[in-house]
Amino acid sequence: MKNFAYVRANSVEDAISRTTNDRQAMFIAGGTNLVDRLKVFLDEPSQLVDVSRLEMKQIERTNEGGLKIGALVTNTDLANHIEVRRNYPLLSRAILAGASQQIRNMATVGGNLMQRTRCPYYYDTAFPCNKRQLNTGCPAATGINRIHAILGASESCVAVNPSDMSVAMAALDATVEVQGMQGKREIPLIDFHRLPGNTPDRDTNLEPGELITAVILPPLSFAKSGVYLKLRDRASYAFALVSVATALEVAGEQIKNARVALGGVAHKPWRAMEAEEFLIGKAANNKSNFEQAAEIALKDAKTLAHNGFKVELSKRAIRRALTVSAQGGGIV
């Protein structure tokens, strides 16, 4: 691998200025994704700017009653945080459904948001890949594409975002706080990741040099109804074939508010807004409403040779998750 410099950033500003001045520089936090990528030549940075010792490890209550989560909070600490477990159980469960305890101990919130796809064609430089190098082609589209996208894919890329945490955060209306040379800005999580279009090389709307500093969760009165359902090829330690995050606000038997987000189906965590809108005002004790919501969420699905099953699997997962949310939430 290409030699690179390793520097420990001594402040957020220091970190930002290094990556702004050197476009080949990269941040490293827990290293659980980046180091793997370095070993197989997916990234060849000039320097690694280690941000892991910076002060972004707090989880604080916001004035609005939500939570502000520092970008360096580990996945383990976030999942186990008492406020998260109490007020955003679906986030806690989504994180615990991912990776392994050892990896979660190292992995950070910022790194998790920035982890790249597990598309096998992206992962091996023996294959051409538009995400690695534009205009080289997408062999996944005509190859083995069982794990690939059914929503929002393009001709140039059919990869999916692998993060569980992001799916929960998408359902929870999270905002990503980032800081660059120009100062801070906030990006709604659902706009943070991108669809591939013809620029699949870009996963997110983070600008070069910008550092994720925090994720902000607004309060959500019905977060306790949250469900995270992850369906995969083995019971643990596998990425989602399909995952669903749901939450429902129910008054009497009527749905007042709904959240539905999907993972494993697109290049970004997929918020099913139209399905949510459909659910508002509907009866929570009528399963056919959930069936219809699932149909709506998947109506634009496009399949490839091997991933057709994901459409039906997603629909069923939505149905089930909503059913459990309607009963007050819990583990599926």
């Binding site: 064609y121 083995r234 330690y237 074939l241």
Partner: protein, 706 residues
């Protein structure tokens, strides 16, 4: 006798392994060591038009770059079982042809691993590319020869007796498929080759067959056997993929000689998906015809598997079929096709494993067809003799496995109808299948030394692939000498020691422990003693430094009188959450008959390991090859799934039967492979019972349950 045999004894090597004291192949520290990184082909069919190594050779730290243009000297081996054996007949870098993606096309040697890897990445190859043959369905099948094309007729599979076209009260015919599986041992393929003066070499490499490896490397290097030493004390899993040298090993040893430095080559996980073996995908057609009472009238079993362009390895699925059930009419056939994929090889219960998935699934289908309980159907078709050799089985307790297993599991409570058992929202299914694996034994030698400090030292070249060989050898010596197990020191896995045979085909225990037993008896004779205590007293009196004895043991004429096989039955429960296609295996009972159980703990662990691997095959293991490029699209242990703890229930293992003294003086048959046989069928049979859905294509991933 202090009667330790049969007890539950902790692993002798356990502490060394968990504390990191056990040294594996790549961990041997040698001064001056340099590192090799393999360059592998990115196309699956064609040839190298040009290979540009200039930039790589010029990078800092690079010592040498080998390609087909300047291969290190490799002598052509005779390559047969008796003399030498390599996994792949084509020698590495022998020409510019590419037969499969991941084929080794170069080796870069540098002072550090990272520099070697980096330089390897900088090699530029221009290929002439032909479209690869990857699709097993469209491949061209032919009658298979035997494994490696050698004369092992029983594995070739073609066999016909009686009239296969007969029908009965019930007939089932179906096609069953299994996917390509990768061994995925925890310890990757890796070795260190250390030459001394160009004429003798020490090779630190995990190998299931130390002496075979010694002879093979000797031929490959053109040196006498005594000048090759193989050191392989610990192996982090093999499952059949570490029996002979692969191309990377051949290349490492040859290159080390050329560069005159000790050289280490570690195959990456990614590379291991392509060039160190796999179990071929299979497609099997089974037809069973039976009378109303369930008695089988005919079994047809046609198996197809694939091999690479550079070696012949059919997956011998039909070998076990004539062993299990009696039938007057039988047709067995094995076909093979060449694909542009790496060379398949032995993988835990080669043949028996996919073969029994098909056969035991078909038996379940037949049971439903006839409305006979599947346990009962098997009991009615039991055979006292091998259907091909007509030899009677020795110490066979298959019926007990079935009956005791059914009892332990509570099988009689089963509601017969599919979809009839529920647990809340979950469908519950119970399934069962037979397990069977031949009992093999070979010649082996062991040496015993009684030392003045009261220690008995056992030495043999055989090794422990993680099965518990260290422990059963110590137990055998302890029992025979009348010593505590702690007083036995066992040294394994070094070619300077007596020939201990091969850890493959579940034969190590059966092969080696009789030799240990005989050597112990012999050393007591030498010491003129009844037991070790007397021997040590005599030793001290004599002033000698040690009493020593070497003994060998080998099968005799018994194979002409008996067929030797091990038996078992698996019972399992699955739950299916139908709406979300979530399948869990929730309960497991295995009852196994392997003759005398030497160490109840490690034997049960072997069975459990087999069951776990079988559950992996049933639920998730599959390696797909890109249809256009031909490269596997799994690349590490996160993408090639095998079970995590959460996938595995408690596995209850018990053993039945008596010592099989016709087989060997210990009465012990092997137990490394039988555990995996039948497992996948037990699971799919349970899934059928739960859901009414018959799954004939493994693995049962969620998409197949929708």
């Amino acid at each position: 006798m202090n009667q330790v045999i049969g007890k539950s004894v902790n692993r002798k090597d356990g502490r060394a392994k968990v504390t990191g004291q056990a040294t594996y192949g790549a961990e041997h520290q040698i001064p001056n060591l340099v590192h090799g990184y393999l360059v592998t082909a990115t196309i699956a069919n064609g040839s190298i038009r040009n290979i540009d190594t200039q930039q790589a050779a010029a990078t800092p730290g690079v010592i040498a770059v080998f390609t087909h243009k300047n291969p290190p000297k490799i002598f052509k081996p005779t390559n047969n079982w008796m003399t030498s054996k390599i996994y792949e007949a084509r020698l590495p870098l022998s020409d510019n042809k590419i037969h499969y993606a991941g084929q080794i096309v170069g080796l870069v040697v540098a002072d550090t691993f990272e520099r070697a890897r980096d330089a390897a990445h900088q090699i530029k190859i221009e290929y002439e590319t032909h479209s690869p043959q990857i699709n097993a369905q469209k491949a061209n099948y032919q009658q298979a020869t035997s494994i490696f094309g050698e004369d092992m007729e029983y594995l070739a599979g073609e066999f016909e007796t009686g009239d296969i076209s007969v029908s009965g009260a019930a007939t089932v015919e179906a096609i069953y498929t299994t996917e390509t599986e990768i061994h995925s041992p925890m310890e990757p393929h890796a070795l260190v080759a250390h030459w001394d003066n160009n004429d003798s070499v020490t090779i630190y490499e995990p190998t299931q067959w130390v002496k075979g490896s010694q002879r093979t490397y000797a031929e490959l290097c053109g040196v006498p056997q005594e000048q090759v030493r193989i050191v392989s004390p610990y192996i982090g899993g093999a499952f059949g993929c570490k029996a002979f040298p692969w191309s990377h090993g051949v290349l490492c040893v040859a290159a080390a000689r050329e560069i005159k430095r000790p050289l280490k080559v570690v195959v990456s996980r990614r590379q291991m998906t392509a060039n160190t073996g796999h179990r071929s995908q299979t497609e099997q057609t089974i037809r069973l015809a039976a009378n109303k009472d369930g008695k089988l009238r005919a079994i047809k079993h046609i198996a197809k598997s694939c091999t690479s362009p550079v070696e012949v390895f059919p997956e011998p699925c039909t070998g076990i079929t004539p062993v299990i059930y009696a039938t007057p009419n039988m047709h067995l056939k094995q076909e093979i096709a060449v694909l542009n994929v790496g060379t398949p090889t032995f993988m835990r219960a080669p043949g028996e494993n996919p073969g029994m998935f098909a056969l035991e699934s078909a038996m379940d289908e037949l049971a439903w067809e006839l409305n006979i309980d599947p346990v009962e159907l098997r009991l009615r078709n039991e055979t006292k003799e091998h259907q091909r050799t007509k030899l009677p089985f020795s110490a066979k307790h298959f019926a007990e496995c079935l009956k005791i297993g059914a009892e332990k599991f509570g099988w009689s409570d089963r509601q017969m109808q599919p979809r009839s058992q529920q647990q809340g929202e979950l469908l519950v299914g119970w399934g069962m299948a037979a397990a069977a694996f031949p009992a093999l034994r070979n010649r082996a030698e062991a040496k015993i030394r009684l030392l003045p400090d009261g220690i008995a030292h056992v030495l043999t070249s055989a090794n422990d692939v993680g099965t518990g060989a260290y422990t059963v050898i110590a137990m055998t010596a302890a029992e025979t000498l009348g010593l505590p197990v702690e007083n036995i020191r066992v040294e394994l896995g070094d070619s300077i020691m007596p020939n201990g045979g091969m850890a493959g085909g579940s034969q190590m225990t059966a092969t080696l422990t009789p030799a240990v037993l005989t050597a112990c008896q012999k050393v007591l004779e030498t010491a003129k003693a009844q037991n070790a205590k007397e021997a040590f007293a005599n030793l001290r009196e004599s002033g000698l430094t040690a009493y020593e004895a070497t003994a060998s043991s080998a099968p005799g004429e018994e194979g002409k009188k008996f067929a030797f096989n091990s038996w078992g039955a698996h019972f399992c429960e699955v739950t299916v959450d139908e709406e979300i296609a979530r399948l869990r295996v929730t309960r497991w009972v295995s009852v196994i008959n392997i003759g005398r159980v030497l160490n109840s703990k490690t034997a049960a662990s072997q069975i459990r390991g087999g069951v776990i691997m079988g559950i992996g095959q049933a639920l998730m293991e599959e390696c797909h090859f890109d249809p256009n490029i031909g490269y596997p699209v799994v690349y590490d242990l996160a993408t090639y799934h095998f079970p995590a703890h959460a996938d595995i229930p408690r596995i209850e293992v018990s053993f039945v039967g008596e010592p099989d003294l016709n087989f060997n003086p210990m009465g012990a048959r092997g137990c490394g492979e039988i555990g995996i046989t039948g497992v996948a069928a037990a699971v799919t049979n349970a899934v059928y019972h739960a859901t009414g859905k018959r799954i004939r294509s493994l693995p049962i991933t969620p998409d197949k349950l929708l």
